[in-house]
Subunit: 325 residues, 2 copies
DNA sequence: ATGAAAGCGCTAACAG
DNA sequence: CTGTTAGCGCTTTCAT
């Protein structure tokens, strides 16, 4: 592997001059610049980015932490982050945690070891205090709501979005409303539970805990839930499912188990994934790609100017009406 | 940021000793080891990985090149690569090319700049000769068939898989067989065309070019094709669609445009994605996750032992019978 | 068992 | 405009 020293020698100049040519500095005579460039070409020399990262203290890489890379929800965010990162010449290091706190620590730790300039997290499992402590080593952006002062955040108002989904169902005469979420303990699931309680209470309706289905993430989860509902004595007549993939599962399961949509079961999905368009599924689009883009740009701004304080960005959602309600 | 020198000073030892402790070398007295470890803890010191990469000439990172991160096909491969990479303590850098040759070059170039130890490519657009030239700087694995001697490859026998799909349809009495592919010019599409021609000719059937649909990648593409088919004077009665997402689109479109499945249109998908299970779609599973895993392990072996020559690995496929045929 | 010193490949004062 | 020099933070001979 040829290095800058050898280039300098071959071109008969100092390494500094080579460095200047490399970095497009002014004050290099035209003939030397040409000579150096020629030698660089001849040797197809390229600077070692490890050395540059070491000296500059920057890697132009951001870590993207997610629980698993197997779900369209994360793909949408990945796509948004990648799009923006590419714009600014940054690389994205994929960090899969499987919700394992040790693995999460390990990845956050890359901030301390300067392997990445910052981190974007889609799935914190560590307690906020510990999680936040890593931000001493570089900007961290989370894709969920937080009040932690050192963390930047890009998020959907899940409470509000859920209320509006429920209200949409109420407005259309549905009174037996249920919902499906992913991990019950997540902050967004808790916000949704509050939204559910408050909106139904306000409408003078009762809340049945049997109509709340947790651990509904993949298509197969949705199918199982449809199966359950088909057997219930007192089934919900409408369902909000936080994720189009799972919602699609409910739809397909409903078909299998003889539930007509939307007559017997109305469904609102989440995220406006391609599948929701295909199935004519009404859905709440929380604009995941935009969340990814904004997450990167929040990281980027703070990376350029470390004196910047953390920022919070609320991303608006849209209810997309199709024919599953 | 505290460095090894400061740790050494605080612990009253040399940097060498600290380095030894860090790297679990023998020949460090127990008391010094303890002292050093304490100081490391106190300062929550972590070695700078840029410096280590620089000195070792390795980054423990592999670049994963793909055209876009917006399709379940790539997610499955990503998941496989990530799984294996994690096992060996490697990181994965995501490199999105949008099929742009310049971008592809740029990413391959990271091999020369030592930003990654190797590259796994799911989407080569550069000519083989140029593409292969980058392998001088490190191992490259492609997820497609190639005869290039310096490239490792993990691939499905697309010719064979396609033949068996067509044969499956022929065996069930279908004679008007068509198919959908992604990019028509890709090597796999060409193999499929040959498989199509040869198998149909062997069966004494004619080949209609109108039954070959290119650019069928996303769900919406599939829907459009169903629409076209519904309008055709002489429509195919069976279709192989290389990708379950697109196949799902065809199914859903078929429903919309009044084609019964499988009576009026039989469909075989590809990849055994979750959606195919949901829709009861018969599909050819080319085991994408395994392709990802093997791709990493091929990279890994060559990275450990650079004298190793390139390897080719054929991954078997399976036809999964459900009810769309 | 321990440390001094020489780099890894590059950038950036500083001096000319 | 150009080159000398001192590091960036770490590992690794080579002495001791």
């Amino acid at each position: 592997m040829v290095n800058i020293k050898q280039i300098a020698k071959q071109a008969g100049v100092s390494v500094t001059t080579v460095s200047r040519v490399l970095n497009h500095h002014p004050y290099v005579s035209e003939d030397k610049r040409l000579r150096v460039q020629q030698v660089i070409e001849q040797n197809s020399y390229t600077p070692n980015s490890q050395a540059i990262s070491l000296i500059r203290g920057k890697t132009r890489t951001v870590g993207l932490i997610l629980p698993f890379s197997h779900h369209p929800y994360y793909h949408a965010i990945i796509a948004g982050v990648m799009e923006e990162a590419y714009q600014y010449g940054y690389h994205v290091l994929l960090c899969q945690t499987s919700y394992n706190p040790d693995q999460e620590r390990e990845y956050l730790h890359m901030l301390s070891t300067r392997q990445v300039d910052g981190v974007i997290s889609c799935s914190r499992v560590l307690p906020w205090a510990e999680f936040q402590s890593y931000s001493e080593s570089g900007p961290i952006v989370v894709c969920e709501y937080t009040e932690q002062s050192n963390l930047s955040a890009v998020y959907t108002d899940h409470y509000d979005a859920f209320c509006s989904g429920i209200q949409y169902l109420l407005d259309r005469g549905y009174t037996r409303i249920g919902y499906c979420v992913g991990r019950k303990t997540s902050a967004s699931s808790q916000a949704r539970f509050r939204a559910y309680q408050n909106t139904l209470h306000a409408a003078g309706l009762e809340v049945y805990s049997e109509w709340i289905f947790p651990d509904c993430i993949h298509m197969s989860d949705g199918e199982q839930i449809a199966k359950q509902i088909a057997k219930m004595d007192k089934p919900p007549s409408a369902l909000i499912v936080t994720g189009d993939e799972a919602a699609a599962g409910v739809m397909l399961g409903a078909r299998q188990y003889g539930l007509r949509i939307p007559d017997q079961l109305a469904i609102i999905g989440y995220d406006n994934q391609p599948i929701s368009a295909g199935l004519q599924l009404t859905t709440i689009d929380q604009n995941l790609q935009e969340i990814g883009r904004q997450a990167f740009s929040l990281f980027y701004e703070r990376s350029l100017d470390p004196t910047l304080t953390s920022a919070k960005r609320l991303i608006p959602y849209t209810l997309i009406e199709r024919s599953s309600v």
